[in-house]
């Protein structure tokens, strides 16, 4: 049976697929009909308002807008009849009436001007009307509404695609006007600078500010474009770099599987860090006699106080020589390496291979330890796989969506757009978090529970599922084990008992438990709020138990999805940048596995699991580890109790830092190797959805900076390894030998397709989005239900330290800020450290907004400005950890989750004080 509709287009018989418009069929047939208010980009619904796309339909009195009109059987459409052409010309002439002259009309190459040229309209006989002046209040975007044609595309971009609800069409008739919020200047509005509107606007009324001059006329034209992936978060948006003279001009979104053209402020406007003058452009060696102190600071713009320039030969000899010396004197156990979740899969693989085969130790880790290590531990234990069971785009098919311990509008902004769209479509969105957040507005249920009480809340939900028989008996029998133990365990966790613990009324707990369990498809997303806790593994166990008892996994719209943070934390973990496992999570302590790797790598391997991030720091202070190689990570900012970590780095006999900036960690380096930024290299990355994507080299490295993979190879050679990779593709080929997860995914395929999801069943088939429909990759093929112990925080509040300190990120800044603090637009939007406090706490503490306050914990003290934040509950202080001048991690607690070894970044006891004598800050 065919659902297609046969009709005639310009005398030719054609078939429309169901839902296709005349415009789309014409486009498919090779006829591009003029269009302004219509965008063929995904998710832009036709609006039919500009009438630039009129066509003639036989037998109809009036012309029809082809962008919105769907053909019916037998219809005869003429796309280029004289009448249609004349009408379209008239539309352009009318619109042109109040356009500024093309050459100064903001974007002379806009879609509007190019179409006007094609329909041969260059001037207008109509009088112009008054138009608004320019608005340059936003650092990243130029608004020139005199070029606006009221096509509404930006409204659809902001409202329907990104669901930010900032732009609207206010007023009426000839007073109709695009406004931001209440007709505020864009820079003062609630705009989150995703730039979607800029990408959608067909006229140059909205443009990236880097493309226009002071007179608001576009000057920037790219001379080439390179397709790649965004280097920031685990969403893995595909992008296109627009480049002129080897400089990044601006970035556009591409139709990748995770982003459908969408980007966030970082992905769109956060790239000028690559051209920052502080980029390391030559190797540095620490000057003789300059001691290392934990409190020492080096000015990245003037490193010459502590370092001297060196040749590559000297620097590499010094870097490898120092490591070799320690190895020879004290054995491999005296060395350790931190790889990076910001680099490529190939770099991660090479790095762990270097540590394992060159250093002779498993002391290799990376920042996964600081983000999802506990989720990984619980997932490995429960379902035998640490990756997501479904992509975040699966929320499209979900009836119930739980987002817990995550703030996706800031940390996974493009994933958040899909959640918001799902909520708009009618899915139940249940947000659970001690902090309020932007997603709250879209949530059907907001459960703002007490910090650190995840297990209380989640076990109470499990209690309801058990007590009310909401579990899926068949699923439980077929695919799980240990059900009875779990049932027994959660018996005591009645909603009535847990309500005072977690602060959520019992009925509310029941309601969400029922919703979750009974829906056709429920999916859970979680973030650091779950994992960064000393009982992070237990928190995650509860979520796994929710999904397994109710069978909410392995089907469209159902699943478990820990939102991975770094762009390549999934890939770096897969590639083995973990002390306990080889690539693909194979235990280093299993002799059989080890011998396989020994064969491929042709060397003996350390049979003991290595130390994790925080353990390595402690081992340095204990004198056990003496030398380190740190690539692309900044533990002096990101580790908990950072002062303690800094003492460790200062104590190292030999520290090699490979990075693109002189990071806070590099202050303690003996050798600094200048490396490549993401847009400067070829390599693959794996996002939170298990999509392996191709990153392409678009720019040259500055000065004599070199490719990271080459540098790892140079160090390996310096340690006597006979490595001879010629390109990252060689590395990828080797990875495929030891990583079954990459089956059917080749470098060439990635070059061709840009993204392939693993696991992938065949070279010519897409990968599996949804996995574990029929059991799990565990020994018993069943998912294990593990009861979660309910315990308190590592450092409860007390009289001396009465507030809860919690840390996290901000939309505009990435992690330790090494990149984003050097991205002009991003730093302009969020330029200085802040501590967010509840409006209820300010009067009690005698503090006014904007005032500089002191925040202390048992480990340190920082001073920074206060911001009032209604999302923060009373008794809590939230501090983003990206600001070196007031580093939040000087305060955080290094207590670890016993299984995941992840520190408790989300909870420690703190004191907030007014600084005596501080003048009242300006209102």
């Amino acid at each position: 049976m065919s659902d297609t509709i046969a009709f005639t287009l310009d005398g030719v018989s054609v078939e429309a697929k169901p839902g296709e418009t005349i415009w789309q069929v014409a486009q498919r047939q090779g006829t591009e009909i003029p269009h302004l208010c219509y965008s063929p980009a995904p998710d832009y619904r036709p609006d039919g308002n500009c009438r630039a796309c009129m066509v003639e339909i036989e037998g109809e009195r009036v012309l029809a807008a082809s962008c919105i009109r769907k053909p019916t059987a037998g219809m005869k459409v003429r796309t280029a009849s004289e009448r249609a052409k004349a009408s379209r010309k008239m539309v352009f002439e009318l619109l042109m009436a109040d356009q500024p002259e093309r050459q100064v009309g903001h974007d002379p190459e806009s879609r509007f001007w190019r179409w006007a040229e094609r329909v041969e309209v260059s001037e207008s006989r109509f009088p112009e009307r008054q138009t608004p002046g320019p608005d340059r209040s936003h650092p990243a975007m130029a608004v020139n509404l005199d070029a606006c044609i009221h096509c509404n595309l930006c409204v659809r971009a902001c409202r329907e695609v990104q669901v930010n609800d900032v732009i609207g069409m206010a007023g009426r008739g000839h007073n109709a006007k695009i406004v931001f919020d209440f007709d505020d200047p864009m820079g003062n509005s609630t705009c989150v600078a995703c730039g979607e509107c800029v990408q959608a606007c067909p006229t140059g009324a909205l443009m990236p500010s880097t493309a226009v001059n002071a007179a608001n006329v576009r000057t920037g034209y790219a001379d080439r474009a390179v397709d790649s992936v965004c280097p920031y978060c685990g969403v893995g948006c595909q992008i296109t770099y627009q480049i002129r003279d080897d400089k990044l001009l601006y970035v556009t979104g591409r139709d990748g599987p995770a982003n459908n053209n969408r980007l966030c402020v970082k992905g769109r406007f956060g790239f000028d860090y690559v051209h920052n003058p502080e980029r390391l452009a030559q190797p540095l060696i620490r000057k003789d006699g300059v001691p290392k102190h934990a409190d020492d600071k080096v000015d990245p713009a003037n490193p010459w106080t502590h370092f001297r320039p060196a040749t590559w030969e000297e620097a590499l000899a010094c870097a490898a020589g120092g490591l070799r010396k320690i190895h020879d004197a004290h054995g491999g156990g005296a060395l350790a390496g931190f790889g990076s979740a910001k680099g490529s899969n190939e770099e991660a693989y090479l790095f762990q291979k270097l540590v394992r085969t060159g250093f002779g130790t498993n002391n290799v880790d990376h920042c996964t330890r600081l983000c999802h290590a506990s989720s990984v531990a619980a997932l490995m234990e429960g379902i035998g796989s640490a990756a997501v069971t479904a992509p975040f785009t699966a929320c499209k098919d979900a009836e119930v969506i739980i987002v817990i311990g995550a703030n996706p509008t800031e940390n996974h902004p493009v994933a958040a757009t899909f959640f918001k769209q799902a909520a708009k479509r009618g899915a139940k969105l249940i947000v659970m978090d001690p902090r309020g957040q932007a997603l709250k507005r879209h949530a059907t249920h907001m459960l703002q529970f007490k910090p650190n009480k995840d297990v209380a809340l989640l076990n109470a939900m499990l209690n309801v599922i058990m007590a009310e028989g909401l579990f899926d008996q068949q699923y439980v029998q077929a695919f799980t084990e240990n059900f009875d133990a779990l049932k027994q365990h959660v018996k005591d966790f009645t909603p009535e008992k847990m309500a005072p613990e977690c602060g959520i009324p019992a009925e509310r707990i029941r309601e969400v438990a029922r919703l979750y369990a009974r829906s056709r498809a429920s999916i859970i997303f979680w973030g650091m709020g779950i994992s960064q806790s000393i009982h992070g593994t237990d928190n995650a166990r509860c979520l796994i138990a929710l999904a397994l008892t109710t069978g909410q996994v392995g089907r469209p719209g159902a699943g478990l999805h820990p939102l991975r943070g770094q762009n390549n934390v999934q890939g770096a973990s897969d590639a083995g940048l973990i002390p306990m496992v080889f690539p693909d999570y194979k235990s280093v302590e299993n002799a059989e596995i080890r011998s396989q790797f020994e064969k491929v790598w042709n060397t003996k391997l350390d049979p003991k699991r290595g130390l994790t991030v925080v353990e390595i720091v402690n081992a340095v202070l204990a004198g056990q580890i003496r030398g380190m190689y740190i690539m692309g990570e900044n533990p002096a900012m990101s580790d908990p109790d950072a002062h303690h970590a800094r003492e460790a780095f200062a104590k190292l006999e030999h520290l090699v830092v490979q990075d693109i900036f002189l990071t806070e960690t590099a202050y303690y380096a003996d050798v600094v190797l200048p490396a490549s930024a993401w847009p400067e290299k070829d390599g693959t990355v794996t996002n939170t959805n298990r999509q392996v994507q191709m990153g392409r080299k678009a720019l040259p490295t500055p000065g004599s900076a070199r490719q990271d993979w080459e540098l790892i190879q140079e160090i390996a050679r310096g340690l006597g390894l006979a490595w001879n990779y010629r390109h990252p593709s060689d590395v990828f080929a080797e990875m495929k030998q030891v990583m079954p997860s990459l089956a059917n995914i080749t470098w060439d395929r990635l070059v061709r397709e840009s993204a392939v999801t693993y696991p992938c069943p065949a070279p010519d088939q897409p990968g599996a989005d949804i996995v574990f429909g029929d059991g799990f990759p565990t020994a018993s093929k069943r998912g294990k239900l593990v009861p979660a112990v309910y315990s308190g925080p590592g450092e409860p509040v007390d009289d001396e330290y009465p507030m809860v300190l919690t840390t996290g990120r901000q939309l505009e800044h990435w992690h330790t800020g090494a990149m984003t603090r050097r991205a002009a637009m991003l730093d302009a939007i969020e330029p200085a450290p802040i501590a967010c406090l509840s409006p209820n706490d300010l009067p009690r503490l005698g503090i006014t907004p904007g005032e500089t306050i002191r925040v202390s914990t048992r480990r340190g003290t920082i001073e920074l400005a206060v911001r009032v934040d209604g999302a923060v509950p009373s008794g809590m202080v939230f501090i983003p950890f990206c600001y070196a001048e007031a580093a939040a991690n000087l305060l955080t607690s290094p207590q670890l989750d016993p299984m995941g070894k992840i520190p408790e970044f989300k909870y420690c006891a703190a004191r907030v004080e007014k600084i005596a004598g501080q003048a009242r800050a300006a209102e």
Binding site: R159, D165, V166, I167, G168, M169, A170, G171, R172, G173, V179, D181, F182, G426, R441
Partner: protein, 196 residues
Amino acid sequence: MSATFELTPENLEAAKKIIAKYPPGRQASAVMPILAIAQRQNDNWLPQAAIEYVAKLLGMAAIRVHEVASFYTMYNLKPAGRTQVQVCTTTPCWLRGSNEVLHACEKALGIKCGEVTKDGAFGLSEVECLGACVNAPMMQIGDDYYEDLDPAGATRIIETLKAGGKPKTGTQIDRRTSEPIGGPTTLTTLSFGKGS
């Protein structure tokens, strides 16, 4: 400027009744009458806080409520007069002399269009078609329409209002509602309801 806004308990009650008329999830349909209630409560205009309040009440994005409020000239987005004189200047009224009517109002009130008198008693604005074109030109004052105006008639109405009087509403000439001037001109030979 009112920085905060809340409906009074009685008005909130009224608003809830209106919301209840629509099926669940469709409460946004109530936006117009509720904006009207808010405006009446707030000296005849809608501050930003009121728009945000209504948005929250209806689970709408504030920008969507702003779009509605800025589309209809019946909503005042800045302080208006306690009595607001709204002169229609859309094409039919304009062709029938609405410019002159508007000028007469300006003169009678001593303010320009878009302004409010010093004592806050009267405001004057120009609005889009109010759907009474058949009796053009016309203006709306408060809840009443005044139709078939000329400058003198408009002046008289305003003077009466200023003096606290109640001018005649509807058409200002010899005519029944929107019937032809001077009585019916068609169907005059038919008789209805006389049992014929």
